[in-house]
Amino acid sequence: MNYFLRLSVLLVGLVVSAGSYAANTVQPLTTADDLGPKVEQPFEFPHNRHAGNADKGGMEINCMYCHTYARRSMVAGIPPVQKCIGCHQSIESVRETPRIKKLFEYWEAKKAIPWKKVHDLPEFVRFNHERHIQRFVFAQNKPVQEACGYCHGDVKTMTVARRQKPLSMGWCVSCHQKDHPVDATSTKTTHGPNDCWQCHK
């Protein structure tokens, strides 16, 4: 009898705590910065010029215009040189600047630009860009720069990208424990999966 009493108390406690958890307000998904190393690239790509705000001289280009694979693949990918040239062949004003000259050198030699990885995870971690972009950008209608920024920081203010967040497991989990709406219109909340095998396959 005593046993069942204890069990029911436990169950009630669980239900109450679960209820209070669900009733929590949606928590912000931004976190503190933790800078990664400076990465030497073949030439400086000015993210601020391409993605920055117009009042600061930026073009406000959508992240996914160049990192086109992010929404349909595990990796965001680097655009092929072809894509850079697609625009730059008709932008005469900067054609003779050192960086663009370098870009055209690679294009004419038909050589891929050896960009270095700025965000790398250990081989035993599987991070999927597609899932995150589909959730935040397409289901929740979050601005693209905000959604990418949860992990990549405020890229529109950088030239060469630099790691801004720790990208450690604890950091991932801290976000996966927070609630966020299921989609843009819903009042229901959910959080990221916390099963080991979601990331460690």
Binding site: V75, I78, D120
Partner: protein, 736 residues
């Protein structure tokens, strides 16, 4: 093999320390490489190329000569995994383990990366320009009669180019050699049916009697036959087909049979004739001369000669009479004797008497381009090349797709004769036993980097031309494909004809598009035809069916009496062709070394298979290192005691025992090719692979055999996990 001194306790200790070390190094030292690793980056890319998502390209497998269609998963410009091409009529999207290991041939760390010219004991890296120039100089300096080209099976445009090159040199010496091939059966088929390799319709047969043809494991086109076999077992009609396997050493096919009959080695022909006699007695109409010829093969005599009981002969004859059509297949166990041709002829005769020709033995199609039809090889070719080398008739030798120094029996003295050839050019993937002897080694592209067309010997339906296309960029810039090398050599000889082609790709594309009408592309423009051919992995051609001919006669059939006992060498050696190792050309692919033999589950080593009775007589237990000695040589390996073998027979797998080739092949096991006796089939002159007599003695040491099965073997340690029925309790045994 694990030696006794290295016991389980030590093994666990090492494992423990290894684990601890791995754990320590794991602390704070992950594989994160910010700013070190490069991002996959392209100059231009197709829309369908998405990083991290696989794209599939069709090609043709090169692991054996069956020519299955494959589909390679390519990600970030690297081929990761192979699957069967669902559009390929030979394998219908299926694939075998040997084929799967194809990626290990490609990424193999022991591949040769640049042309090597002999300088004393060493190979010195040279450029392709210099290598091809040197070859041209050498062939120009000798009489064309003294140039010899030794290859494995060749077909398609490679074969056409090779012939053009030999014509340009003015030499007709092209030797096609296959170490393990049904060459005696091809000759017997040609006589009996009018074609070397008829189509065998396992799926149409109601009974299959296979005389040692391991069609599920390693015989001719196993992936194709496996699918037909599935339909034979579960046909639309609902009547499950019955498979009887007659052989002296159990193969994978034998293990799948309803009845496995252990026959005395070499008496397969006698059993076939005995069955004809029994069928005639049971009322099957048999031509007079055949009936007269087989009249003496009474069930008692056949039973005494073959060791197959009269009861089984009777049941088998009754089954064959009752269920038609049936299919009788002659395999390597029947052909490997001095009277191999006679055995095969007797088995073909049984097929004819049963009326299977035209039913389950079908006519293949001819190819509209005979210059590209496959040239199959045999062991006689190597024999005649060897004779010519011994008589100093060969001054320049090319070797492609074979490894004769490894596969030739020691009695041929091939290695010594090879030394008499002043200039030897070997096309190779690895520094194998033959490449080591070469003066010039030309490194080949892997099958995943190469362009080629392939017409397999055994085509499942119609006529077809398979395409092998690169699945990724070359790993090493210094390798070339056979086509490119031949084209380069032809440019020296026939510049007007070939200088217009930049590389073999442009030659191939031009040749295919020019002939697109005959290749089924009449309605398409050149580019569309070519794209479609690449995307399908091949083209279907319009072939004429060949008529099956050949007469039913027993007049020339003389099957000799069984062997007489040899007191010094009392046992018969059966060199086994395993599904993974075959003739040993893939031995440097660790997956194949690691995948257990299907029957014994042994990995990474050779073994000597023997019957428990034989083992008891010789005082041998499992793991004893034994010496197997023939008149021609001796080898040592671990003994494995196994009931699936005739007591008069021992068996050793082929393909092991390399003393070169690479880190995974070298020093693993012993080479059974070396100890084969020089006995030849009387009609075709082929080396009779099963004729070697041996004696087995204990060499003193004992090891623990590394294998997957438990210590109690098939006994499941008495736990009855899978209940085994004794064969006389299986219902089917009432029939078989």
């Amino acid at each position: 093999m694990i030696e006794n001194s290295f016991n389980r306790r030590n093994f666990l200790k090492v494992l423990g320390w290894g684990g601890a070390t791995a754990a320590l190094s794991g602390c704070g030292n992950t594989s994160v490489e910010d700013g070190k690793e490069f991002v996959t980056s392209y100059v231009e890319t197709a829309d369908y190329i998405i990083p991290s998502i696989g794209t599939y390209f069709n090609s043709t497998c090169a692991q054996c000569d069956a020519g299955c269609g494959i589909m390679g998963r390519v990600r970030e410009g690297r081929v990761l995994k192979l699957e069967g091409n669902p559009k390929a009529s030979i394998n219908n999207g299926k694939m075998c383990g040997l084929g799967q290991a194809g990626v290990q041939a490609h990424y193999n760390p022991d591949r040769i990366r640049e042309p090597l010219l002999r300088n004393g004991d060493r190979g010195e890296a040279i450029t392709w320009e210099k290598a091809l120039g040197l070859i041209n100089e050498k062939v120009g300096g000798v009489n064309a009669e003294n140039i010899a080209f030794l290859t494995g099976v060749v077909s398609g445009h490679d074969k056409a180019l090779l012939k053009n090159y030999l014509d340009a040199l003015g030499s007709g010496h092209h030797y096609v050699y296959e170490a393990v091939a049904p060459s005696v059966i091809r000759a017997a088929n040609k006589k009996a049916y009018g074609v070397e390799m008829p189509r065998l319709r396992l799926d149409k047969a109601k009974v299959i009697v296979s005389f040692g043809a391991d069609f599920l494991g390693a015989w001719v086109s196993p992936v194709h036959f496996s699918q037909q076999y599935a339909r034979f077992r579960k046909p639309d009609s609902g009547e499950r087909g019955v498979l009887v396997q007659v052989e002296s050493k159990m193969t994978l096919t034998g293990a799948n049979a309803d009845r496995w009959l252990a026959i005395r080695p070499g008496t397969e022909g006698i059993l076939a004739l005995g069955l004809i006699n029994a069928l005639a007695a049971a009322g099957l109409s048999v031509p007079g001369d055949v009936a007269a010829a087989v009249g003496g093969y009474t069930s008692e005599r056949v039973s005494k000669d073959t060791g197959v009981s009269a009861e089984h002969i009777g049941k088998l004859a009754a089954l064959l009479k009752e269920r038609s059509p049936s299919l009788i297949i002659a395999g390597s166990a029947a052909e490997g004797y001095a009277h191999g041709s006679q055995n095969a002829a007797a088995i073909a005769l049984l097929n004819q008497i049963l009326g299977n020709v035209g039913q389950t033995v079908e006519a293949p199609s001819s190819t509209p381009f005979p210059q590209m039809a496959p040239t199959t090889g045999n062991r006689l070719a190597l024999q005649s090349l060897n004779d010519n080398m011994a008589q100093d008739k060969v001054k320049v030798l090319f070797s492609y797709g074979t490894n004769p120094v490894f596969t030739a029996p020691a009695t041929m003295k091939l290695k010594e004769n090879l030394k008499k050839v002043p200039f030897k050019v070997v096309f190779a993937h690895y520094m194998d036993e033959t490449a080591v002897e070469a003066d010039l080694v030309l490194p080949l592209n892997s099958a995943m980097e190469d362009w080629a067309t392939v017409i397999p010997e055994y085509v499942a339906e119609g006529a077809q031309l398979n395409i092998r296309q690169p699945l990724m960029e070359k790993l090493y810039p210094g390798t070339l494909g056979l086509g490119d090398i031949l084209l380069g050599l032809l440019k020296y000889r026939r510049p007007d004809e070939y200088n217009g082609f930049e590389d073999f790709y442009s030659y191939l594309r031009n040749a295919m598009v020019t002939n697109k009408d005959a290749l089924g592309g009449a309605s398409k423009d050149g580019d569309t035809f070519w794209e479609a051919a690449l995307s399908h992995g091949g083209v279907k051609m319009v072939g004429e069916p060949v008529n099956l001919s050949g007469n039913v006669s027993a007049t020339t059939l003389v099957v000799p009496a069984p062997f007489v006992e040899d007191a010094t060498y009392p046992l018969h050696l059966i060199p086994a062709v395993s599904a993974s190792m075959r003739d040993g050309r893939n031995a440097n692919e660790p997956w194949l070394q690691e995948s257990p033999d299907p029957l014994t589950t042994i990995v990474w080593d050779s073994w000597v298979e023997m019957h428990p009775k034989t083992a008891a007589k010789l005082g041998i237990v499992e793991g004893d290192i034994v010496e197997v000695a023939s008149k021609s040589g001796a080898m040592k390996a671990q003994a494995y005691v196994f009931t699936g073998i005739h007591p008069d027979v021992i068996s050793v797998p082929l393909g092991y025992g390399h003393d070169a080739m690479g880190r995974y092949a070298k020093g693993v096991g012993a080479n059974a090719f070396k100890i084969l006796d020089p006995v030849f089939d009387k009609e075709t002159g082929e080396l009779a692979m099963h004729e070697t007599r041996v004696k087995v003695t204990k060499a003193g040491k004992r090891v623990i055999i590394v294998k997957d099965e438990g210590p109690a073997g098939g006994n499941q340690m008495g736990r009855k996990i899978a209940v085994r029925l004794t064969s006389n309790k299986v219902n089917l045994s009432e029939e078989v």
